[in-house]
């Protein structure tokens, strides 16, 4: 039995920079917004302020560096801190380069006039609060926070100012991916990015979130970095028969504390594919919840992490099978260099009546240095017997036999290792249908490796 460890003297403030005054200023700055929105934000702030910071005995934060989750020293980022030059992210791969919506420091900075099929809505959250209040009430942060960050999700709701709102009506297919940029600039800035995607019955859409900060733009190699606090969320809803593809590519500065929450709701015969690429941040926590709510629902959850330096990536996932004949397939791959640390904690839950569930969960850690640390907590809670549920976790270095095979063809060891490392990522990238997107993400990873 493991001994409970007493929590370290909790001298840190549970609200940090996000005081009641800061919140009041935030509300005042919003201008004319509906009363229900203000009420939700107030309730969320109360929840945030009431809940304690995570402690040693929180199973949901096992292995996390809790000292790193500190809320002091930040301010709500404003557009004044960004320049027009910063807002244009240079050298992006083609698939990610042209945003439909771009946000810089919590404010809209650019939007495209791209033509879209009738009825498709791609707008800002700020506008949708007025124009699509019912959809927002039904889907915005509407799912339970089950992965440990109830406090921070409430903080997000309290301070979120703007974000992307994507609505695809029944039977409509959007051929071109919708690209959203979220940019953070300026030291100690706090940003609260949000993306809400609703794909109605038999709709089809691909949405890409790119998270970036100025330190990545102006400082090749990321040698000097700027601290940010990013507290973001995305809500994905796939109605009956819908097909939703979501890609989140995170390239915050190396000093960013990032907390990101995903909720995915999958209805009957719907299919959601999500792929999260994690590159940046000092400490990045990503929570992902997939709820398979009706027969035929399928959620494919993919992630790639390129961890180096002293970065910590903390990924918590939950696949809940709430109905029979549902399927989920999770593959999270991490490569670790230097003194990097990763945590993968995943749980498959099969509810009592969710017979014929097919659930898979796999965490693969590629250890590329002597001091990297990988933690895996792959979990199952199964309450139905006619199921196929498996999980696996491995942590290992590059396979020496594969390395020898490449060397036996004349390829130098370092080149061989790089080929094999990219081969390791390909298993995830290959799941993407779009070759452009595949190439785009690969190019982001290459940039990280070159640094």
């Amino acid at each position: 039995m493991s001994a409970p460890v007493s929590s370290p003297a909790a001298t840190r403030s549970p609200i940090g920079s996000f005081t009641a005054e800061t919140f009041a200023e935030h509300l005042a700055s919003l201008g004319a917004v509906p009363a229900w929105w203000i009420a939700r934000k107030r309730a969320a702030y109360d929840t945030f302020a009431r809940l304690p910071l995570p402690s040693r005995t929180d199973e949901a934060w096992r292995f996390s560096t809790l000292q790193g989750v500190a809320l002091e020293g930040f301010h709500i980022a404003t557009p004044a801190e960004t320049t027009a030059a910063e807002r244009r992210i240079p050298d992006l791969p083609a698939a990610l380069a042209t945003p439909d919506l771009a946000f810089a420091n919590n404010h809209l900075s650019a939007r495209s006039n791209a033509a879209r099929p009738a009825g498709v809505v791609v707008t800002t959250l700020a506008e949708a609060v007025g124009s699509h209040a019912d959809l927002l009430k039904a889907h915005f942060m509407a799912q339970p926070q089950k992965l440990g960050s109830e406090k921070f999700a409430a903080l997000h709701t309290a301070f979120v100012r703007d974000g992307a709102f994507v609505y695809v009506p029944r039977g409509v297919e959007v051929a071109t991916p919708i690209v959203i940029h979220h940019l953070a600039t300026g030291p100690a800035s706090a940003i609260f990015p949000h993306t809400l995607v609703i794909a109605e019955e038999n709709a089809k859409v691909t949405v890409i979130d790119l998270f970036y900060s100025d330190a990545r733009l102006s400082l090749p190699g990321g040698a000097v970095s700027v601290p940010h606090f990013a507290c973001g969320a995305n809500d994905l809803y796939a109605g009956h028969g819908a097909q939703l593809t979501y890609v989140g590519a995170q390239a915050w500065s190396y000093e960013t504390l990032s907390l990101q929450f995903n909720s995915t709701v999958v209805r009957r015969d719907a299919r959601v594919q999500s792929l999260n690429l994690h590159l940046g941040g000092r400490q990045s926590r990503h929570e992902s919840l997939s709820q398979l709510q009706a027969p035929g629902a399928f959620s494919e959850m993919l992630a790639l992490t390129v961890a180096d330096g002293t970065q910590e990536f903390d990924q918590r996932t939950l696949q809940i099978h709430q109905a029979p004949d549902t399927k989920s397939d999770l593959l999270y791959k991490n490569s670790l260099r230097d003194q990097a640390k990763t945590i993968f904690s995943g749980l498959i839950v099969v509810d009592p009546d969710a017979q014929r569930t097919d659930a898979y969960q796999s965490n693969r850690n590629l250890m590329l240095s002597e001091e990297a640390e990988a933690n895996s907590l792959p979990g199952l809670e199964i309450q139905a017997n006619d199921v196929r549920c498996t999980h696996g976790a491995t942590s290992s270095r590059i396979d020496p036999e594969q390395e020898f095979y490449l060397q036996a063809r004349g390829i130098r060891k370092d080149a061989a290792d790089q080929l094999l490392t990219f081969g390791f990522f390909e298993e995830v990238l290959n799941r993407l249908v779009s070759d452009d997107l595949h190439a785009g993400l690969r190019s982001l990873i290459e940039t990280q490796f070159e640094q």
Binding site: Q407, R409, I411, L419, L420
Partner: protein
């Protein structure tokens, strides 16, 4: 004209000695076959010449054109002209055959020199046609999900592309049906010539009907115990390895 000279080679894995004083000289243009029962060190010999890190050379030397290669890494030996066709080729997930061979070609070029992509693909497709390999294979991961025959053809394709001085073919016939065996052998026969020396390692005589050796050696307990021409292979086939063992005992 090149030579690969193995001099009184002793090889161990851990504490256990596997090759116990083996000598053999192969010149360009020659085809040698090493035959022998399982567990006599045939595959070890091929791997140790290619530089596999698990084996320790405890004595003797291996010379390529007069210079020892034992201090060289596996990739250096490969670039110097040693090619190992693996008995069990590794599966390399996520690395396509095209990318893999490009990397191997690139490694053979001087720093800063760029591979001519169109010439490379032209050559690659020609070799693939020769070996009856579907061009779609170039985008597949190396050996991943390949049948036994596909793996062996992929090995010969690499050999054709990399143009080694010496090819060590470790049980190339194992796991092949008769059609695959014919295709692979035709490939090797096409590549044979005055600039290539071949060392075939095989348990069965069957392969030697397709690739005719100039010399046949019988390996037993870490040594070559008998050498001859291709008729030795036929004699072995009819009399079995016990014949060699008995001869050894009486000697």
């Amino acid at each position: 004209m090149s030579s690969l000279v193995i001099q009184d080679l002793h090889v161990a894995i851990g504490e256990k000695e596997i090759v116990k004083g083996l000598s053999l000289t192969i010149n360009s243009g020659e085809v040698h076959a090493i035959m022998g029962p399982n567990g006599t060190g045939k595959s070890t010999l091929a791997k140790v010449i290619a530089g596999h890190p698990d084996y320790t050379v405890t004595g003797g030397d291996v010379l390529l054109d007069g210079a020892s290669i034992l201090e060289k890494e596996a990739d250096e030996r490969a670039r110097a002209g040693i090619f190992l066709a693996f008995q069990y080729p590794s599966e390399i997930p996520g690395v396509s055959i095209a990318n893999f061979l490009r990397a191997a070609q690139q490694a053979r070029m001087a720093e800063g020199e760029e591979l001519d992509a169109s010439a490379y693909y032209k050559r690659l497709y020609a070799k693939m046609d020769m070996l009856k390999i579907d061009r779609k294979f170039t985008s597949r991961s190396v050996n991943e999900g390949f049948s036994g025959g596909e793996k062996k053809r992929c090995e010969i394709l690499q050999m054709a592309m990399l143009e080694p001085k010496f090819a060590l073919m470790d049980e190339t016939d194992s796991g092949l049906d008769i059609d695959a065996l014919r295709i692979v052998s035709e490939g090797v026969n096409t590549l044979k010539g005055p600039n290539l020396g071949v060392l075939m390692i095989t348990h069965y005589q069957r392969l030697l009907n397709y690739i005719v050796p100039d010399f046949v050696h019988v390996m037993y307990d870490g040594r070559i115990v008998k050498s001859g021409d291709k008729s030795l292979a036929l004699e072995l086939e009819s009399k079995g390895y016990d014949w060699v063992k008995k001869e050894l005992v009486t000697a």
